[in-house]
C-alpha cells in the first residue's frame, strides 16, 4: 500500500469512528441543551444498544431486523426510567449532585450489564455481509456505509424534529429559557423526559451500528461516552451539525495519530484536545461566547 492509499484508508476509518463519536455527542448535546445536565451515563446507552442487540439476536433468537429496533426501544425505556428514578427525584439539583448522580447511574448500568451478560466481548454480525469493497485502493466494509447512512439519517431526522415538530420546537424553547417556556404552557418536565428518551435512542443506535466493527462488551460505554462528550465540546454543545463535525474531526485526528504517531497514545489524543478546547475555547469551535448568569 502506498502513502496516498494509506492516507485514504485513515480518512475512511477516521470518518466512520468520527461519525459514531458525533452521534454519541448528539446525545450529550440534546440533554444538555434542554436541561443543562451533562449526562455522564450517556456512554452506557451506547453500550446498551450493542449489548441488547446481541442479546435479542442470540439469546432471544429474534431476526436482526427485529432485534435492532427492540434493542433501541429497550435502551430508550431505560433512559426514560433513568430520568424518572434518578434525575427527577433530586431535590437539590446542583451541578455537583447532578454529576455525581449521573456517574452513579452509569456505574450501576455498567455493573448490571456485567451481572447479566458477563465480561466477555460479543460480536454483532455485519448488517450486509463482510465482503470488503475497494475504493481507489483503500478497502471499505459495507458496515462503514451503514454507519455513514445512519449518521446522515439521524442528522436529517434531528433537524426535521427540532424545527418542524411541535415537541421539537418546545424542546428548543426549553433550551433557550426554561421559565419562559413554562410560562407559555410548555410542560418542561415532559420535555426533559423527551430529551432523555431521544438521546438514549440515538446513543443506542450508535452503539448498534459500531458493534459489528469493534465488538461490544459491558465496558465499551466509558470510552465511547467520553469521546462523544469530546465531540460535543468541539461542537459547542449544539444539538446539530457542529457536534457531528466535532466527532469527525476527532475521529480523523485519532486515526492519523494512531497511524503515524503511536497507537498506544491514540486515546490520549481525544483527551488532550478536550482539555485544550475546554481551556482555550470552552464555548466550542463554532460558537460565540455568552455571558454568565449569577
Amino acid at each position: 500500500m502506498n502513502l496516498s492509499q494509506q492516507i485514504l484508508q485513515y480518512i475512511l476509518s477516521g470518518l466512520s469512528t468520527g461519525a459514531i463519536y458525533g452521534l454519541v455527542g448528539l446525545g450529550f448535546a440534546i440533554i444538555f441543551s434542554s436541561t443543562a445536565i451533562v449526562n455522564f451515563a450517556q456512554g452506557e446507552f451506547v453500550m446498551l444498544g450493542g449489548m441488547l442487540s446481541v442479546f435479542f439476536l442470540e439469546v432471544v433468537k429474534l431476526p436482526l431486523w427485529l432485534a435492532v429496533p427492540v434493542a433501541i426501544l429497550t435502551a430508550t425505556m431505560t433512559g426514560v426510567a433513568f430520568e424518572r428514578l434518578a434525575i427527577r427525584p433530586l431535590k437539590q439539583a446542583t451541578p455537583l449532585s447532578l454529576v455525581i448522580i449521573t456517574i452513579g447511574g452509569s456505574i450501576l448500568l455498567r455493573g448490571l450489564a456485567m451481572l447479566f451478560w458477563g465480561k466477555d466481548t460479543h460480536a454483532l454480525p455485519p448488517f450486509s455481509g463482510n465482503e470488503p469493497l475497494t475504493l481507489a485502493g483503500a478497502t471499505i466494509l459495507p458496515q462503514h456505509l451503514w454507519i455513514f447512512a445512519v449518521t446522515l439519517l439521524v442528522i436529517t431526522g434531528n433537524k426535521l424534529f427540532f424545527y418542524y415538530s411541535i415537541s421539537g420546537k418546545a424542546m428548543r424553547a426549553c433550551a433557550h429559557n426554561r421559565r419562559a417556556a413554562s410560562l407559555v404552557g410548555i410542560d418542561v418536565q415532559r420535555m426533559v423526559l423527551y430529551s432523555f428518551a431521544l438521546s438514549s435512542a440515538i446513543g443506542a443506535m450508535a452503539g448498534i451500528i459500531i458493534a459489528p466493527l469493534t465488538m461490544t462488551s459491558y465496558d465499551v460505554g466509558i470510552m465511547l461516552g467520553l469521546k462523544g462528550f469530546c465531540a460535543a465540546i468541539i461542537g459547542g454543545m449544539s444539538s446539530g451539525l457542529g457536534t457531528v463535525i466535532g466527532g469527525i474531526v476527532l475521529g480523523l485526528l485519532e486515526s492519523f495519530g494512531a497511524g503515524f504517531v503511536s497507537s498506544g497514545y491514540k486515546d490520549a489524543i481525544a483527551f488532550v484536545i478536550l482539555l485544550l478546547i475546554l481551556i482555550i475555547r470552552p464555548q466550542g469551535l463554532f460558537h460565540r461566547g455568552e455571558s454568565e448568569r449569577v
Partner: protein, 324 residues
C-alpha cells in the same frame, strides 16, 4: 475549637489502640488500606467538600506519587524519605500550574476536564513501559526504614500510615477553622459573593487543589512502599470515582465523614467476598441512593434518620407531615 481538639484526641486514641486486639490478623492489613484511603479522601474533601470543586482525576495524583517513589527508589536507589518530599512538591507544583487553567472551569466542565486529565495520566502510566513497567507493573519497591527499623509488616505500616493520616487530619481540621477554611466555604456557596468579600477566589482554589494533590501524592508514595509493587489499574478512572464516592458517602466537608466513607468503601468489598467483581454495582447504587436521600452524607444522614425515627416512635415530637 475546644470541641474539635477533644474530637481529634478521641479519634486519634481509638486509631492508636485499634491494632491491639487485632495483632497480625488479616483485618489489620485491611486497616492499613483504610488509612491510605482516609488520607486520600480527606485530601479530596478539601477540594470537593470545602471549596466545592469536583475532581474526577485524583487517582492520577495518587499514581504520580506512587510511581515517582517506586521508580526512583527501585530503579535508581535514591533515599525514599527524600523522594516522598520530592514527589509531594513535584505533584503539588504540577497541580498548581495546571490548576490555573483547569479550575477556571465550573461544574460539569470541570468534572470532564479533571476526568480527561486523569485518563491521560493513566495512559501514560500504561505506555511508558521503560519507566513504569507498563500494564504488568513495577515490582521491587523497598519498604521504608528509619535506621534499623524497617516498616515491613502490617503493624509497623499501620502506625506509619495512620501517623501521617492523623497529622493530615489535624492539619485539615486546623485549616477548616481558619480564615482560609471560611473563605473556601464562601467559594463553595457563591464565588461571586466570595470575591465581593475580598477573597482571591482564583488563587485560593488553585492553592487548595495543589495541597490536595500533594497530600494524594504522599498517599501514593506510602502505598508504593507498603505494597512494594504497583500497577496502573490502581490509578484508573474507577479509583477516582471511588474516592469521590468515599467523600460523598461520608459527607461533604466533614473530615471524620471522609474517614467513615473510606472505611466503609474499603471494608465493604472485603466483608462481602462473594460480591468481588460486582462491588461496583454497590458503588453505583450507593452514589445514586446517597445523592437522592442523604445529600449530607452519613455524618448528617444518620443523626437525621435517628431523629426522624425517634419522632415517629414517640408520636408528634418531630412535628412532621402526619400531625398536619
Amino acid at each position: 475549637m475546644k470541641r474539635e481538639v477533644v474530637k481529634f484526641i478521641i479519634f486519634a486514641a481509638l486509631v492508636m489502640l485499634a491494632p491491639l486486639p487485632l495483632k497480625q490478623s488479616y483485618l489489620l492489613n485491611v486497616l492499613v488500606f483504610v488509612g491510605i484511603n482516609t488520607l486520600l479522601a480527606v485530601a479530596l474533601n478539601l477540594l470537593l467538600g470545602f471549596a466545592g470543586q469536583i475532581s474526577l482525576g485524583h487517582a492520577a495524583f495518587f499514581g504520580m506519587g506512587a510511581y515517582l517513589s517506586g521508580i526512583l527508589t527501585a530503579n535508581f536507589g535514591l533515599n525514599p524519605w527524600l523522594i516522598i518530599v520530592l514527589a509531594a512538591v513535584t505533584v503539588g507544583g504540577l497541580a498548581f500550574v495546571l490548576g490555573f487553567p483547569i479550575l477556571k472551569l465550573k461544574g460539569h466542565y470541570l468534572a470532564m476536564a479533571t476526568l480527561g486529565f486523569g485518563i491521560i495520566f493513566y495512559i501514560v502510566f500504561n505506555e511508558t513501559i521503560g519507566l513504569t513497567g507498563g500494564p504488568s507493573g513495577l515490582p521491587g519497591i523497598p519498604n521504608l526504614a528509619i535506621g534499623s527499623l524497617t516498616f515491613d509488616n502490617d503493624l509497623k505500616n499501620y502506625y506509619l500510615i495512620w501517623g501521617v493520616t492523623l497529622l493530615t487530619i489535624l492539619l485539615c481540621v486546623n485549616l477548616a477553622h481558619s480564615r482560609i477554611g471560611r473563605a473556601l466555604r464562601a467559594i463553595h456557596d457563591s464565588e461571586v459573593a466570595a470575591r465581593v468579600m475580598g477573597v482571591n477566589v482564583r488563587l485560593l482554589k488553585v492553592q487548595i487543589f495543589a495541597l490536595s494533590a500533594a497530600i494524594s501524592a504522599v498517599a501514593g508514595s506510602l502505598y508504593a512502599h507498603t505494597m512494594t509493587f504497583i500497577s496502573p489499574t490502581s490509578f484508573g478512572f474507577n479509583f477516582s470515582v471511588e474516592l469521590v464516592t468515599m467523600v460523598i458517602i461520608g459527607g461533604l466537608g466533614s473530615i471524620y465523614g471522609s474517614f467513615l466513607g473510606a472505611a466503609l468503601l474499603t471494608l465493604l468489598p472485603e466483608l462481602l467476598r462473594a460480591f468481588r467483581d460486582y462491588d461496583i454495582i454497590a458503588y453505583g447504587a450507593l452514589l445514586v441512593f446517597m445523592t437522592i436521600f442523604m445529600p449530607g452524607g452519613l455524618v448528617r444522614g444518620i443523626p437525621d434518620l435517628m431523629l426522624f425515627l425517634w419522632s415517629r416512635l414517640t408520636g408528634k415530637r418531630g412535628g412532621n407531615a402526619q400531625t398536619g
